[in-house]
């Protein structure tokens, strides 16, 4: 019964102290919010903590949800704020993490065995370059890229979540991809 309700109806039930209603909201948006946090933070533990804090903050501020925006927009806004707060707090640590080679080595062991070492190294370099390029994007552009690629949201969902016109979402994504192409060309890495 609860699964048939819309997000806004679930929030109203949660405000009236129905714990199952907010549990359904968490189930619906858990993976997308985690993907957004991972795309923004690039670290599993940080992303999980940010996702956890996002839902806790949403639950504590249920009464402030006026229903003017969609629940997806509200959750994404909280998640992005959580990620930005964590990035500001751990700025130095995050930058050093990006330069570490440990994660790249781990990916070597995770990768399929049919790839040659040279190809694996080339792929790892490309992944590092893409990750750095995405992280260097402005927040509004980066958020659209993460929501589209990691959360696999449609443009209409992103438009609702970010409370932006559909054309603005598409133009932001177009601008983001153009900037990524320029950044990757500067690194002299062959894309694909």
């Amino acid at each position: 019964m609860v699964s048939e309700l819309t997000d806004e109806q679930l929030v109203k039930l949660a405000v009236n102290e129905n714990p199952n209603a907010f549990g359904e909201i968490v189930t619906r948006w858990e993976r997308k919010i985690f993907a957004l946090c991972f795309g923004m933070l690039n670290r599993e533990d940080e992303a999980k903590d940010a996702a956890q804090d996002t839902f806790i903050a949403a639950y504590k501020n249920l009464s402030r949800f006026r229903g003017e925006a969609k629940v997806s927009s509200w959750l994404h806004r909280i998640a992005v704020n959580q990620c930005l707060t964590r990035k500001r707090r751990d700025k130095t640590r995050s930058e050093s993490y990006l330069d570490e080679s440990d994660s790249a080595e781990e990916r070597v062991f995770i990768a399929p065995k049919n790839k040659t070492p040279s190809r694996l190294a080339e792929k790892n370099e490309r992944l590092v370059a893409v990750r750095q390029a995405v992280n260097s994007l402005p927040v509004d552009l980066k958020q659209v890229v993460i929501m589209k690629e990691f959360e696999e949201m449609t443009f209409q969902e992103i438009s609702d979540a970010m409370d932006l016109p559909l054309s603005t979402v598409k133009s932001r994504l177009y601008t983001a991809l153009k900037q990524l192409r320029m950044k990757l060309e500067r690194t002299s890495l062959e894309v694909v």
Partner: protein, 290 residues
């Protein structure tokens, strides 16, 4: 839809390119755009480069994110959460009577009582401290004031008790005089040793005379002097009439002890302010008046 912008190298098909890459076109829109792509190298290049970037991002996602387990979102249910709107509306409608009752709640009364107790304790402590600091000075001032008041009382009461002076006239009454004077120091101080000396030498009793105001004044003046002289052997410090009038403080405290006749005898030898001849003249004047 796309025919008007065909073969334009600077065409702005940004939205269509994005929609085509992410496959969010309808079938009709997709076929139309593909027909545009046949003759538009700009859009074809963008689709190719953007597609390659998407592939890299998907590789990044699949290698780093897809294998991750979902986080365990554990949120404790709080039934008494303060964010319930009904609670907020109730708090707004609190009346003045209820607020007044809250003002005099037991918590407020306890706080006020404790505060008052602290203030009282501080005030009492300040009073004790200040009195301790000024204690010695106040005691000295009080004793000096007592001496001054005694002096004034003596000067005022002297004319009323000339009978005591009259009793001390003969040597036979010395023992009786001591018995009468010993219990009270004030009375003893008011006795006139000069008259004792005079009576001893002249062997004439001193008569009582309350009728003549002139002699009363004289007696008063002399009694003042005598009182000062009576204290002199005790305190070893001379106090004359002028000092008493000016209310000067003596340097020592009066000892409440009845003086003896021997004390007066010693004092007479050092007194230079009173002459026996003056006293004899007074007695003779009194006799002549009678």
């Amino acid at each position: 839809m796309f025919d008007s912008r065909k073969n334009n190298s600077n065409c702005s098909f940004s939205e269509e390119v994005i929609s085509y890459i992410y496959d969010e076109f309808t079938d009709s829109q997709k076929s139309e755009f593909e027909s545009h792509l046949v003759n538009c190298t700009n859009c074809t290049d963008e689709i190719a480069s953007f597609g390659a970037i998407r592939t890299s991002i998907q590789d990044w996602k699949s290698s780093d994110f897809d294998n991750l387990a979902l986080p365990n979102i554990n949120i404790e249910f709080e039934p008494n959460r303060e964010s319930v709107p009904v609670v907020e509306t109730n708090t707004v409608q609190v009346g003045w009577l209820e607020r007044l009752n809250n003002l005099f709640s037991p918590v407020f009364l306890k706080t006020a009582t404790g505060f008052a107790a602290i203030v009282l304790m501080l005030t009492f402590g300040w009073f004790l401290f200040s009195s301790y600091q000024n204690g010695s000075e106040n005691i000295a001032e009080d004793k000096s004031n007592q001496i001054d008041t005694r002096k004034t009382v003596e000067t005022q009461e002297k004319p009323i008790e000339p009978e005591k002076v009259e009793i001390v006239g003969t040597e036979d009454n010395d023992s009786d005089l001591r018995k009468q004077e010993a219990p009270e120091s004030e009375i003893a101080v008011q006795t006139n040793p000069k008259r004792q000396e005079t009576a001893t030498k002249s062997t004439r009793p001193v008569r009582k005379n309350n009728k003549n105001s002139e002699s009363k004044n004289r007696v008063t003046r002399k009694n003042k002097v005598i009182v000062a002289n009576n204290r002199k052997p005790k305190v070893n410090n001379k106090i004359n009439e002028k000092d008493l009038i000016d209310n000067k403080k003596p340097n020592t405290v009066v000892i409440d002890k009845a003086p003896s006749l021997s004390d007066f005898a010693i004092e007479d030898t050092t007194d230079e302010d009173i002459n026996l001849t003056d006293i004899f003249e007074e007695v003779e004047e009194d006799d002549s008046d009678d």
